[in-house]
Symmetry: D2
Subunit: 440 residues, 4 copies
């Protein structure tokens, strides 16, 4: 049997024990021999804590797996079979800026959608493309499973500007599907959801229960409103929106359909001193790592569930299993469109049901998008394509065009001032926009 | 020679003398024998005034043309060669509502773009489709030249739901091109502009001067900022927007690129008691018709230029000439896409350079839209397609989806309340949405 | 558990025991309660023999299944869950004409490809569309699994002209994939083939062994030449054709790539008194039914393997299982393109890897066809679309255009004379072309 | 006024006086100051004769134009405004081979269509791409008007593999349109034909007479049969072919629709000692140049009309006029598809009605091809694309695939042997296929 080597970039992430739990459960069919947690200087301590915890977890499971930690990415990558990326350029401090700077202009502050996601993409893409250069050299057959947000944009950058074999993953679709299953009281042998769209902009377009498409019957149900959408403060989906849409949107669509209400809520949180989600997560992480350090902990602690990211591990591990064992199973992932959604360019990265085997992810043909959501998906895709172009060139005009194409930005003057603030705020992580400086 | 008969629907419009002036100038190649001014009861007086003025104008020109006025549309249409539509369902009172109701929700109030244009489309489409039923029966070979706004959406409704031969026309492109000529001091033998997009959402993508595309050289010039855009209160196009866009937008793009500033200006106007554009136009029209009545007036009065609509007549008459004389000339008009813009459906109506001959308008192949504007054009096209679907069915869900897809509407709750207000405000002109009532 | 009812149209086919064998093997997951063998008058005796044999087979298997035979199609269809079509309009006599008439003009005589397949399509399509009318009325939720050749064209006719849920099936892809497995000595857990194209015009474009695409390594191997292609007299695939193609063609491509040699062989067979394949099959069938009648026979006899149709049963039964149990597995079937092959219309029926569940077959996105085969596939698809149009209208001009578009027909004059001969030869089975007559 | 310089590559062609005649007629709007006749060694004498004749023609016209002859292509190209290509690699001797080698295999021998055109493309493309390198360097703003056959394939090679501004031209469309005019007794102010397809594979899809599409009325008329198709020995278009097609094919479609009859005729010609068309043309050319030499000749001699190429000059000169004077007129030319024909790739070169101005040729949107001809056009386009790929690489596998995709080649074995013969026969002109040798 081959010596299966997995590298986690951003090994200091608090999600790492979640991933390990999934790997241990699936060890029989995905027999990992070596796990490398790679991180940069700032993540050294957390990566070390994770490394020790993983060793205890594998020991408890009775599995002989070589877990080690390194700050040397190239050393880590050599000979890898899978590379999982879960790093965050600039850490939670940068996330706090992504969430707060747009609010200065009365715009949504969110780390994956809107101007916040845009800034995160500008920071992340040059870094991940550098990694891709290493992967092309050191482990050209490895599969890159990208979790780093905004996952769809980052995956499009990789497909456009590297030769690396990459699939973008997000836990939103699997959570939506599971919520539907819970509500209907059925399991995956009887239920199957069809997804179409982009990452954090996807839609369930059909729900097959025993092969009958029942989406119309449950579209506007309290079940869908209460359970399919989670992890984000509530807004009122009442009033026939879902019936009129005819499809079930990802919870992230709240930012587009309820922009005003979401912004009011964000502002109220700040007024109450609750701060942004970044502040909340910093607190959670502090507690988590205190826990991870305990020598008597040798399983994933329940407290991790508060962090979000539910089913992240299950999605990632079953995806790797489908690749490694060439299963030709269906997964909802981010990959090249290649004609699947006829309203989008062939070179766009989309999020949809794909057949996954050892050769990669192949989307089912979708045909045209539902007219109710076609325009929004196309508008956001144009924004994404422009964002990639801005990130790889450091061109301010392209960056302005990208921001202006984001549906959560409404006028050029604000876009110009906001762009300036975002670039200045993240200056040390944007060397292409500030070429005269070295990176901080 | 054939007995060329022209019918003007909305013959009581203050633009009618402008149209007549153009017809008189081009009489040699477009030899009209009969002009019918048709209108409904409310327009009876104005149509009568126009009829008398036109008779004086033709007398002065020494041309023997039979001008008559009628309230019976079917009598007017029988045997027509051209039908020009310039009517407004609900008149300027309805326009005032289109402009003021959205402002209650802090949204742009404009009669062709945004929620105002949406409401106008809902009122207009069922009426024009009824006219099309008459045309199919009484003059099936006639060409319908549609000027009624929103011209692109109305033209798409006609192409989708009737057999009538129709071209949608707007004076924005010809005015943009003339402004470019004026700035460069050249005439149409040396200059040619390529337009792409939708009505009131079009862009000059290339400017050929003696066959060299010089758009990059003049994109961001004061000339373009000052002169290409007119008739709408000023905003600041400075700061590199045009350079970044790489194309020259129609002045109506201000509502999208400067939504915040345009809204502030509209509110300031109201605060100063200036009222909406509808109020302004009512005043202008009162004065115009007082003038038209004067027995000594036998030419188009200069005062009409204030009304806007510059070059309307030239565009319409040269288009009819190209059809009638089968000239295969190029005009910028609204017609079916048929693959010309590869990012839009084949059945969409677009505004672009078309070859026009007796068989109709055939767009030049455009290929993909510039990425800078692709998303916006696609988003607006989805809004337009949904608006047509709502207008022909009276379905409130479709109407909600249409409004929600308009880039100037930002959240579902506002969309729902605004939709309610618009429907109630125009209740008497929306029989499909209030089927229990007769039309007022 | 639901009372699963299966109807076999053309129940007198010699393949019926093969189908039954597969159903018995898979009974646990596909629990059939009732099998109806429906046929027309000419098939009465054979259907009866099959019915008795199936009863003995089920008895031996210890399964309680109600097998019955009828000449009343509507009685058979009422309440069906699956309808399998394996009938042949005009029987083997008509096949003999399909194979011999073209040879009079020095053209390939084959029952699915070329003019023979064209004639078969003209006879079959009106009959199957009549069945579809019955299915729409009597069992609208039933799935039609179409085996009747030319399977792709017939399936396109059903998708275009009925509401029936239909998947077209052919045993060529599964046999090609199995041959590759045999050659490589691996099973389906390690190997996966990607197919693209049309029925009897499909190509393996990738072979994944443990997830690596190895097609280039085995393309031009004797293994592929000897084993992937079977059931049809041999021609020489040597000389670099497969290397140049870059894909592995279905054996039916011999008629296109070796037209001259295949024609020579057909003529030599006739010269030697061997007759056409139809004559051969008649002989085989006579022997088979003699065998089927034997009271002591209660399993599928080995002799059936000579008839061709290997793996027919396995393909059909596993497809029905995937639908019935909503498995979302991959099968190579014929269904609507919907953008999967970007070089073909969305409404075309194609043969490719599809996800199959209770809602139907959904093709994987293929993107563009390999340039080496793109033109041929497009040419044949145009022929197929024209053939459907001719079959449903009885229009001789459309029929002439269809024939002329078949790559195995080379000039108009021959096409005209051949068309005449085919129509006359099958006159009694072509009522739409001879409307003054009743059907024979 | 600019110093307009025109370079004729292949200046020794017998067509040169025809071109000069057109230039003289249009001199007022296309004021040429300099004409260079460039040729290679073999053409020296003929180019010299042409140069002297042109000087006499210009003198007679009273125009001061500098006509000179050179064997140095680079000297000729420097500073050119227009480059017209009418050269033939290998001369009429090579043409004779193009026409005779295929006949050894019972295949059509024709210099632009079928295997002959394929061989001509292989010889021509590397030579013209070398010229393009010179043009890119020495006159990058020049327009290349390509007449060298196969004009569509050569133009596609230039668009795909160079930056040169190029339009491909052919005199077939203008001759077809004029024939229609003659038959109807009308001129171009009343008649307009729509063309779609590829070079030597185009179709009139609509004929607008005073704006009514009358194609259905004249499709199957003797007029169309007798007059629209000329210059090629007759076959019988009777029997409803044109009615069934619904469009009027270019005369070159005879080779596809009447392959058998055309081949028989070619063989009969050889049997009667008439030889191929190349032999005929050699004879005509000998007589023409004897005439051109006469000092008293100072106009284009009538005898040139026998050579074919009618209206060649008019088409070329009015095209250059439309470019030079930025007229935005319509011409039927070969240029990039860019979405115009939705059934062909955007990067394909097509032949259709285009708006031509100083920036180039922009096709009208065609939408889908008529189903009757869609498959053939797609098949031939695949052949063309493969031919370009073979010509620029010298790859025998690609060449085999190209030949096999030509609808006039019917089996692989013949294709292989024929390919070998063609490559050997033209060995000295195919350096990429015989890299070890220098060019002869």
């Amino acid at each position: 049997m081959r010596n299966l080597k997995l590298v986690v970039i951003g090994g200091g992430s608090s999600y790492t024990p979640e991933l390990a739990e999934g790997l241990i459960k699936k060890h029989a069919s995905l027999p990992i021999k070596e796990i490398v947690l790679a991180d940069i200087g700032d993540g050294r301590e957390k990566a070390g804590i994770n490394g020790d915890l993983l060793k205890r977890m594998y020991r408890k499971a009775g599995l002989d797996v070589n877990v080690w930690v390194t700050l040397d990415r190239r050393e880590a990558l050599a000979g890898a079979d899978f590379v999982v990326t879960q790093f965050r350029v600039g850490g939670l401090e940068a996330r706090a800026k992504d969430e707060s700077i747009p609010m200065k202009y009365d715009l949504i502050g969110q780390e994956t959608t809107g101007p916040g996601g845009f800034a995160k993409a500008l920071r992340t893409i040059p870094v991940i493309l550098e990694m891709c250069r290493d992967i092309e050299e050191l482990c050209p057959n490895a599969w890159l499973i990208n979790f780093t947000n905004p996952s769809g944009i980052v995956t499009e950058a990789i497909h456009t500007h590297s030769q690396v074999k990459c699939i973008g993953l997000c836990n939103v679709p699997i959570n939506m599907e599971r919520a539907v299953m819970r509500q209907l009281g059925v399991d995956s042998t009887r239920l199957h959801c069809r997804f179409t769209g982009l990452n954090h902009l996807s839609f369930i377009t059909a729900i097959y229960l025993d092969g009958r498409n029942i989406i119309k019957q449950i579209l506007d149900s309290p079940a869908v409103k209460d359970e399919v959408v989670k992890n984000i403060p509530n807004v009122d989906w009442a009033g026939g929106l879902l019936d009129a849409l005819g499809v079930i949107p990802s919870p992230y669509l709240r930012y587009f359909y309820f922009e005003k209400q979401m912004l009011a809520q964000e502002k109220e949180n700040v007024r109450q001193g609750l701060g942004t989600r970044a502040n909340e997560v910093m607190e959670i992480e502090k507690n988590l790592f205190a826990l991870y350090k305990r020598e008597d902990l040798d399983v994933k602690p329940e407290e991790l569930d508060k962090r979000g990211g539910a089913l992240y591990s299950e999605a990632a591990v079953s995806l790797m299993d489908s690749i490694w064992n060439n299963r030709s199973e269906l997964h909802v992932v981010n990959t090249l469109n290649r004609g699947s959604i006829t309203d989008l360019p062939a070179h766009s990265v989309i999020e949809t049901n794909c057949m996954v085997n050892a050769e990669g992810a192949f989307p089912l043909a979708n045909g045209p998008l539902p007219i109710q959501v076609r325009g929004l998906v196309q508008q956001v895709k144009a924004y994404e394509e422009l964002t990639v172009a801005a990130a790889v060139t450091g061109d301010r005009s392209k960056a302005l065009m990208a921001l202006l194409n984001n549906p959560l930005v409404h006028d050029v003057e604000t876009a110009q001032r906001l762009l300036n603030d975002l670039l200045e705020g993240h200056r040390q992580h944007l060397p292409l926009f500030f070429p005269e400086e070295g990176e901080g």
